[in-house]
């Protein structure tokens, strides 16, 4: 009863003490609203820090989406003219890849915007649930600090602007013909990636916030352990580090590897192997029954009785009171469950955008490297991928794309690990407290935690953990090599055709020369040369 009263009283202060997470998202929300990533109401967000549905916002978002699509198509059209003239000189493979990947950025952006439109009601609920979790954690004396989240958002925004602007400006200055007024349209080429990154910042920061909640739960549990260890050390009158080694040292020295049963015989009263082998069964029994056979039995009986007495004298560690700590552990595990559920819901909301981002990352990474190869071989490449002509711009663009993908994967993996760490901390509590009732609670909660972990995935196609990176990097390398081989083969075929054509021309010329009766030794040599060239296999 007193605990519920206390909870009630703290409940009133909770609302004042816990600041909503969305408070930290102010700048990000304004930018997102401006470029049309989120349809939610701006005024409500500014005044109450809540995300609420807004019809005007939705219309504005659809409007921006249509504008982007029109501008992007205009961009493709105006820059595509170069492609049409260059089509003959491009290899078919390069041309097809360029065609295939032209719209992928646009598809990614449309996925982000349409998903945000679909989720506009649920997104607000998600942050409400996080606020509820924060309040519950606060009641368990576990405060989550949100203040540095806005700093993180700022850093991410600055990095996004830096990458986008540096790629855009460098490409514009070095690789776009800026004497024509249509070249201004090149700015549109940065829109899809920019919008996508802003949307992913929402996901990344929210995920980071969840990770912090898991870590807060773990820290609370580990603090319980640390206080209890100090408390026990205080009881035994030693320094805190003594307890650690003492608890381990109190066991009898473990036996050696090769002495298989020696330990057992030692336990049974210092009998050596030979004497036991010779002895009959009835000789063993009396030894085993004696209390002296294990020297610790006297201590063993005393220890559990000692604890409750001293606990009453000095209430320092919560873990020494099993009934009291039971409630706390239960609450923490429930909060853990709730955070896991929020994580799953969040993953659900962003599943399509993440899938499209990963597909985009994989394809663009491969294509950009392939086009870089083409550019080094002085082949023409699709005009939309002109940034591949410059290795430095390519490096920046690739690190931007891969950084985005890898950071999301890394964060998901870390969050998943943090959620799994709770079980470890819980077991530490159980073992350190060494209380019968607590073991029961810990075993129960431990099973619960085992069955309820959070794993992030992209629409269920693949999990977002570091192992995915292994597969993806292997895939990129393989495809790149295959593409380059195709390109080499195509290039050789093209060379051969050109040589053949020029040979035909020469032969025609030669025929004309012969007709004119003006045969010269040089043409014969040339003819021989061409014939031998054509006859030599390409090995």
């Amino acid at each position: 009863m007193p605990s519920t009263v206390q909870a009630e009283s703290t409940n009133t202060t909770t609302t004042r003490m816990v600041h909503p997470l969305l408070q930290q998202f102010q700048q990000l929300f304004f930018v997102s609203k401006l470029v049309g990533i989120l349809p939610q109401d701006l005024e409500k967000f500014r005044s109450k820090n809540v995300l609420e549905k807004s019809r005007n916002g939705a219309f504005y978002m659809v409007f921006t989406l249509i504008i982007y699509i029109i501008l992007y198509n205009l961009l493709i059209y105006s820059f595509g003219e170069e492609d049409r003239t260059l089509k003959a000189s491009q290899s078919t493979l390069t041309f097809v890849i360029g065609l295939f990947l032209t719209y992928i950025g646009l598809i990614m952006m449309a996925t982000d915007q349409l998903t945000a439109l679909r989720n506009q009601g649920q997104l607000g609920d998600l942050y409400d649930r996080i606020l509820a979790v924060d309040e519950r954690l606060f009641r368990e004396q576990c405060v989550v600090d949100n203040s540095h989240i806005s700093g993180r958002i700022k850093i991410m925004l600055i990095m996004t602007f830096f990458f986008e602007i540096s790629i855009l400006i460098a490409t514009y200055i070095k690789l776009v013909d800026y004497t024509q007024w249509m070249s201004v349209l090149w700015v549109v080429s940065a829109v899809p990636t920019f919008i996508n990154t802003l949307d992913k910042i929402w996901f990344a920061v929210s995920l980071y916030a969840l990770k912090e909640r898991f870590e807060a739960i773990n820290t609370t549990l580990e603090e319980l352990v640390a206080t209890h260890e100090k408390f026990k050390a205080w009881l035994s009158g030693g320094d805190p580090y003594m307890d650690d080694s003492h608890s381990l040292d109190s066991s009898q020295p473990p036996p050696q590897y090769d002495s298989n049963l020696e330990y057992l015989y030692k336990e049974l009263g210092g009998l050596d192997m030979g004497s036991l082998k010779g002895s009959g069964r009835n000789k063993v029994a009396p030894v085993a029954h004696s209390m002296n056979s294990f020297g610790e039995s006297v201590q063993t009986g005393q220890k559990p009785q000692m604890n409750p007495m001293t606990v009453n004298m000095a209430h320092e560690s919560e873990l020494s009171n099993a009934t009291k700590v039971e409630e706390k552990l239960n609450n923490l595990c429930q909060v853990h469950d709730e955070v896991c559920e929020i994580g799953k819901a969040m993953n659900e909301l962003w599943s399509y955008p993440i899938l499209s981002l990963m597909a985009y990352g994989f394809l663009i990474f491969t294509a950009q490297l392939y086009f870089l190869y083409c550019a080094t071989q002085a082949q023409s490449i699709p005009s939309l991928f002109r940034s591949a002509k410059n290795p430095i711009i390519t490096v920046i663009a690739l690190s931007y794309t891969s950084g985005k993908c890898i950071y999301l994967i890394y964060l998901s993996w870390k969050t998943s690990l943090a959620s799994k760490r709770t079980g470890i901390s819980l077991h530490k509590c159980g073992v350190v407290a060494d209380d019968n009732l607590l073991y029961e609670i810990v075993n129960h909660l431990s099973l619960k935690l085992l069955n309820h972990s959070v794993d992030f995935s992209a629409c269920g196609f693949f999990t977002l953990d570091m192992e995915t990176l292994y597969g993806v990097s292997g895939g990129i390398t393989s495809y790149l090599i295959i593409l380059i081989q195709f390109n080499l083969a195509a290039q050789q075929a093209k060379d051969a055709i050109q040589t053949f054509n020029s040979f035909n021309d020469t032969a025609g010329l030669m025929g004309a020369a012969t007709e004119m009766g003006n045969e010269s030794s040089t043409t014969t040599i040339l003819y021989d040369l061409m014939t031998t060239t054509m006859m030599t296999p390409i090995d």
Partner: protein, 391 residues
């Protein structure tokens, strides 16, 4: 660092210190803080030197890299780049994560102090050799084979071209350093395995003891005794798990880069081996690849051995037979609860050795690596005739 290291470990750690891989003072050192600072400065200097060397070799006009075709020079540049990254990452890690490494060795000392001191008549040298024979055989076997190959190469190769001299004198240090780092991983994993093995052994004895006591001679208080023993084992397991997390934290990036370096090197050297045979070039430097082929299996074999201890421990734990249910706890006996708790703890704290989460170092990785290396070798060989025309 608690506890005294054995002489074998002491000398090997000195060796790693000399190479700048172990940035911690050893237990017997007179001025630990000063030694640590000196070791860190030494690691830093080596890092700068080798990093500069890699950049110099790639950018130099001289014949450091293969001159002949673009693909060959690309391969050599790749080798230098990956080698440079690997070595720099090793030293950066030594400088940054020395706290985790110190924790690993402190826990190792703490757990080793619990082991019985040598009671047998054999000398401590012999005991240590027996304890660390796996690590010692990997270390000395691989080092000896590298040196033997070097001797064979310098004797067997007739006229050594300038490119080979330049390439091997600059590139071989990178190879050796990554190999020795790999063996350093093996040492740490092997120590972890020894602790797990010891725990499994103790649980085995406890299981036999419990069986014996239940069948023949149970006694009052046995239940409590068994429970306390189990709890101690749980605490020990927790320490071993801490040791494992410290190991993972101390060797994060370098594990990945070292594996990558060895993999890339094997793949590229396979290409050049084929190249020299295909073009009838009288070089035998491709033989240097042989010890590299054993490096990754050495690490994977050790880590697999370590990870395989876990099911053994669980099996031994569950073969402990609890005594008859006591009247005071009619539902579930105390020992059963303790065993359950331990078992659950092990499920939450699995010892899984991984390289930054990207891949788990088990037998499956070896299969995947073999597959991918052979695939890349085939790709590379396919390039060769096509590229000859571009020379």
């Amino acid at each position: 660092m608690a506890g005294q290291l054995g002489r074998v470990l002491h000398y090997h750690l000195r060796f790693y210190q000399l190479l700048g891989f172990h940035g911690l003072p050893l237990p017997g050192d007179a001025h630990p803080l000063r030694t640590q600072r000196c070791l860190q400065i030494w690691s830093f200097c080596l890092m700068i030197f080798l990093g500069t060397l890699a950049v110099f070799c790639v950018c130099s006009e001289d014949e450091f890299i293969h001159i002949g075709d673009t693909f060959g020079s690309f391969n050599d540049v790749l080798k230098y780049t990956v080698g440079g990254i690997a070595v720099v990452s090793i030293y950066v890690e030594t400088l940054i994560s020395h706290r985790h490494l110190a924790r690993f060795w402190r826990l190792h000392g703490l757990l080793s102090d619990l082991l019985p001191s040598s009671t047998s008549t054999s000398s401590s040298w012999w005991r240590e050799l027996r304890q660390h024979w796996r690590y010692l055989s990997w270390f000395h076997g691989l080092t000896a084979s590298e040196l033997a190959l070097l001797a064979f190469f310098s004797l067997g190769q007739g006229t050594i071209r300038r490119h080979l001299v330049l390439f091997w004198t600059t590139f071989q240090p990178f190879v050796w350093l990554t190999h020795i780092r790999n063996i350093q991983f093996v040492l740490h994993v092997e120590l972890l395995r020894q602790q797990l093995k010891q725990l499994a052994h103790e649980l085995n004895l406890l299981a036999e003891y419990s069986k014996f006591a239940n069948r023949r001679a149970s006694f009052e208080g046995f239940e409590n005794y068994l429970r306390r023993q189990l709890r101690q084992k749980q605490l020990i397991y927790d320490k071993i798990y801490d040791m494992y997390t410290s190991f993972q934290a101390a060797f994060r990036y370098s594990m990945l880069t070292v594996l990558l370096m060895i993999g890339v090197r094997i793949s590229v050297d396979c290409y050049f081996m084929y190249y020299t045979i295909y073009n009838n070039i009288n070089d035998i430097d491709y033989l240097f690849i042989l010890p590299a082929l054993l490096e990754i299996p050495a690490f994977i074999y050790t880590s697999r051995g370590c990870m395989e201890m876990l099911p053994r421990i669980a099996y031994k734990l569950h073969s402990i037979t609890p005594g008859p249910t006591s009247s005071s706890y009619p539902t579930l006996s105390l020992q059963v609860k303790q065993i359950q708790n331990f078992s659950l703890q092990m499920m939450h704290q699995p010892v899984v050795i991984h390289a930054l989460g990207i891949t788990i170092l088990d037998g499956y990785l070896l299969t995947r690596l073999a597959c991918s290396l052979s695939t890349y070798a085939i790709y590379a060989i396919q390039f060769m005739p096509k590229l000859r025309r571009n020379v």
